[in-house]
């Protein structure tokens, strides 16, 4: 056995080895380490006894508590659903008018609707449902497809240009690309359409409005209506109001008429339970126009 030296600071003996000047003391392992290890082991032992832990050949030790995370989570989910059913069954059973007449119930609905909406819909429609280019402002009440709760529910359920068999189909034709109108005619109709909502005409456009009116009457009224106020059956927007889905400057409107537009809205019936869709419908219907 190598003979150690005594360390002057601690009074302990070294092991007698030295590596490039480094030595080690023969300090015995402090008692507290064993106590600590013992305590940790007891803790582990308690876990092993209470919970499923050790693999056996065909099964595993189940633990005294009979705890099973799948059973637990299933029970918790069922319990939470049962707790919520106090009001959710009312939502499912009552009509939209009845629910909206019940402020206490509406409070619960919109509270839940807000988080649902932000989690599922805000990516396209925005946190305040005010939309953006290509995504409609749901708070503006300038409905493409209709603002009755039943219609909104239908839109959410089957989607627009979605993969659902019954999907709503929104088709703004590509008049320029598909050769139905010449560029000049498009410029004319663009000038006319912009004038409908009282936008100041762009340079040289004032002269086009009259011709544009004719182009509109020949090509556009089938969907947008004689008065250009739109048609909710085909999702054609009202062109006389101040709401523009794809932008109101000449370039944007030109692109709309030249290349067409086909907005896409997922069919949520495939992803959300009827209860959630009803809550979302009520939430969307309850939205107030946000001051610009």
């Amino acid at each position: 056995m190598d003979v150690g030296k005594q360390d002057t600071v601690t009074g302990r003996i070294t092991t007698g080895h030295e590596w490039n000047g480094i030595e080690e003391l023969e300090t015995p392992i402090p008692r507290v380490v064993f106590l600590f290890l013992g305590a940790a082991f007891v803790f582990a032992l308690i876990c092993w006894v209470l919970y499923p832990t050790w693999p056996l050949i065909w099964t595993y030790s189940k633990g005294l508590l009979g705890f099973d995370q799948r059973a637990t989570v299933t029970r918790q989910v069922e319990q939470a659903a049962a707790d919520r059913s106090v009001w959710t069954t009312q939502v499912m059973d009552k009509s939209y008018t009845e629910i909206e007449a019940d402020p206490a119930l509406m409070h619960l609905v919109t509270e839940t609707g807000r988080t649902l909406f932000i989690d599922k819909c805000a990516a396209c429609h925005g946190v305040n449902a005010t939309g953006g280019t290509g995504f409609p402002d749901l708070a503006a009440k300038a409905w493409l497809w209709g603002g009755e709760p039943e219609t909104i529910e239908e839109t959410i359920r089957i989607g627009i240009n979605s993969t659902n068999a019954d999907t709503r189909t929104s088709q703004m034709l590509a008049f320029g690309r598909d050769g139905m109108l010449q560029s000049g005619q498009i410029a004319d109709v663009v000038a006319y359409v912009r004038s409908l909502s009282g936008l100041a005409p762009a340079e040289g456009d004032a002269a086009r409005i009259e011709a544009g009116k004719q182009v509109f009457a020949d090509n556009c009224t089938a969907c947008h209506g004689e008065d250009a106020k739109g048609n909710k059956d085909v999702g054609a927007p009202d062109l006389t109001d101040a709401n523009w889905l794809y932008g109101s400057d000449v370039q944007a409107v030109f692109t709309t008429v030249y290349s067409g537009r086909q907005g896409h809205m997922p069919n949520w019936g495939a992803k959300l339970p009827p209860l959630d869709i009803k809550i979302l419908t009520l939430y969307v219907h309850s939205l107030k126009k946000v001051a610009p």
């Binding site: 590596w19 490039n20 480094i22 402090p30 380490v33 803790f43 988080t115």
Partner: protein, 553 residues
């Protein structure tokens, strides 16, 4: 360059050229076979890297051979280059860290609308850059140094250490450039694809053999404990790496591969790997570092030899079981989770024993800790090691994990360990090692070390506190219910609540990065000053008495 090559014998230079030639052919084959696939671009990286190095070797090819007297000295050139690489990776990896932290605070900073500039691709550049680039180079560089001094044996030859160091950096470069191109196995900390993985296996086996060959020729009767830790690091990382990366490539010409495991087995394999990467890469290796540089700098004997041995076996044994605490409340069978949790609790004992052993070693040297920022780095590292392992064991308890999992609390824990422990012990060791290597009394500027210390400490504290706050707020928001029994907050609400903490984290990270830049400048100035002086051996390293050391082969 020429000077580095001149340290090798002519035969070794020839071997180096052959290896580089083979490597450039592999690069060429990858570039040709992988046309139209990201693999092709990776091939060019390999090709440019190996051809460039071949030119460097050729430039020094006709330099005079080193004489026999070299065998009576330690071989430190690879350590020196490794130190420089460590510092470079530190700055690069942490700069990317600060950048991704800023992206989380201000996503609109993404400066070009290109995939490579997105958070998702830059994040692994950060994690691999700091763990593998910075941490790995630090471990390789210091292990060569510690191995020789504590064995009193020169590295067996002059080629192998270069192969390990340079080959490892090739792996890091291929990995990082691949992430930018979107190459990933989608396994955290094991992102590089099959060809990079195979290359790393070769490098790693050579590394382990190098260690064994040197130890076998040691002139000390006993193997110092630091070497146990370094060897555990090398050996276990090899096993983890091989098992977790078992995969079948789509074809020889494609970067993509499919894992041999699927479903929950894949998840368990990945986190068995991931957790033990923490254990044997970020803990074991750096404990090896600590067991050499801390007592050396403090001039004190290790507090307890026995404690260091039982902690070694405790850590090695307990860590292996703990990986499943990353998969609490998942599809993983519950019994595996309980096992992981209970072993994580017991793991705290050897972890704290190591931290305690380090701190008790400082008894009798506390006045030095006060005056010497280098020792203070090491002391703080030991404290953060203790803190982060306590936190880890706590977070491994299932109900606690149900709050912390998926939140920034995890990220806070990671960086308490990564900044407070891994980076601090590395910087402390580098500051001790650099003057020894370049034969100077001290670093160029002890003042700058002091500056670095406070930047690093402040940065770590800001970072960790920001993440604790944000993580716990996040966790609580996700489990708050309305009166009606539905979730009170949307996910986006919680993201908005994180904003101030993300700004704070980016700021803390910036402090830490500034410290690393200060370190890099100080190292650079020290090297330059040493080159100017070249007045001979004024270093403080223990001089080698003739015959007291085992010569190279």
């Amino acid at each position: 360059m020429v000077r580095l090559v001149s340290g090798m014998t002519v035969t070794e230079r020839q071997i180096a050229l052959v290896v580089l030639l083979a490597l450039s052919l592999i690069g060429l084959a990858m570039a040709a076979g992988g046309r139209g696939d990201p693999m092709g671009a990776q091939g060019f990286v390999v090709l440019v890297f190996s051809v460039g190095l071949a030119f460097a070797v050729m430039a020094g090819y006709y330099a005079p051979e080193p004489d026999e007297s070299r065998l009576t000295r330690y071989y430190d050139d690879p350590t020196k280059v490794g130190i420089v690489l460590t510092v470079i990776w530190a700055v690069v990896g942490m700069a990317v860290g600060v950048w991704v932290a800023s992206l989380l605070a201000w996503p609109e900073l993404t400066f070009v609308d290109q995939a490579w500039a997105s958070f998702g691709r830059l994040r692994p550049v950060h994690t691999s850059g700091v763990i593998f680039g910075f941490g790995g180079n630090a471990l390789i560089a210091t292990s060569f140094h510690v191995l020789q001094r504590t064995s009193r044996a020169r590295l067996p030859d002059q080629f192998t250490p270069w192969f390990v160091l340079i080959g490892y950096n090739l792996f890091c470069i291929v990995a990082a450039s691949g992430y930018l191109m979107g190459i990933t196995q989608s396994k955290e900390y094991a992102e590089p694809e099959w060809y990079a993985d195979i290359w790393l296996v070769i490098v790693w086996v050579v590394y382990f053999l190098l260690y064994l060959r040197t130890l076998a020729r040691r002139k000390e009767p006993h193997i110092y404990v630091a070497n146990w830790y370094y060897m555990a690091f090398i050996l276990v990382v090899a096993v983890l790496h091989i098992v977790n990366n078992l995969a079948v490539p789509v074809s020889w010409g494609h970067a993509k591969s499919y894992s041999l495991f699927s479903g929950v087995q894949d998840a368990m394999t990945e986190w068995w790997y991931g957790h033990n990467a923490v254990a044997f890469f970020l803990t074991s290796g750096f404990l090896g570092m600590m067991y050499y540089y801390l007592p050396k700098r403090a001039g004190r004997p290790i507090f307890s030899y026995r404690l260091s041995i039982i902690s070694f076996w405790g850590i090695t044994f307990f860590y292996m079981w703990a990986g499943s605490h990353h998969l609490h409340y998942t599809a993983l069978p519950q019994w595996v989770q309980t096992l992981g949790m209970s072993f994580s609790i017991m793991l705290l004992v050897p972890s704290w024993a190591s931290a305690g052993n380090a701190l008790a070693t400082l008894n009798g040297a506390w006045h030095k800790v006060r005056d010497d920022a280098v020792l203070r780095f090491m002391m703080v590292a030991a404290v953060f090691y203790g803190l982060s392992t306590f936190e880890g064991s706590f977070m491994a308890i299932r109900p606690v994990n149900s709050l912390s999992h998926y939140t920034d609390w995890t990220v806070g824990h990671v960086h308490a360990g990564a900044l407070g422990w891994v980076a601090m012990i590395t910087f402390g060791s580098l500051y001790a090692l650099v003057p020894w290597m370049w034969k100077r009394e001290t670093m160029y500027s002890p003042k700058l070390i002091e500056v670095h210390f406070w930047l690093a400490l402040a940065g770590t504290i800001v970072y960790v506190f920001a993440m604790w706050n944000s993580g716990i707020i996040q966790g609580l928001m996700w489990r708050t219910y309305n009166d009606g029994g539905t979730l009170a907050y949307s996910f986006l609400d919680s993201v908005e609540a994180m904003h101030p903490y993300y700004i704070a984290r980016a700021f803390g990270g910036l402090l830490f990065l500034s410290g690393a830049v200060v370190c890099a400048s100080n190292v650079w100035l020290t090297i330059r000053a040493a080159q100017r002086e070249r007045r001979g051996e004024t270093g403080t390293d223990v001089p080698i008495v003739a015959g007291a050391m085992q010569a190279g082969e």
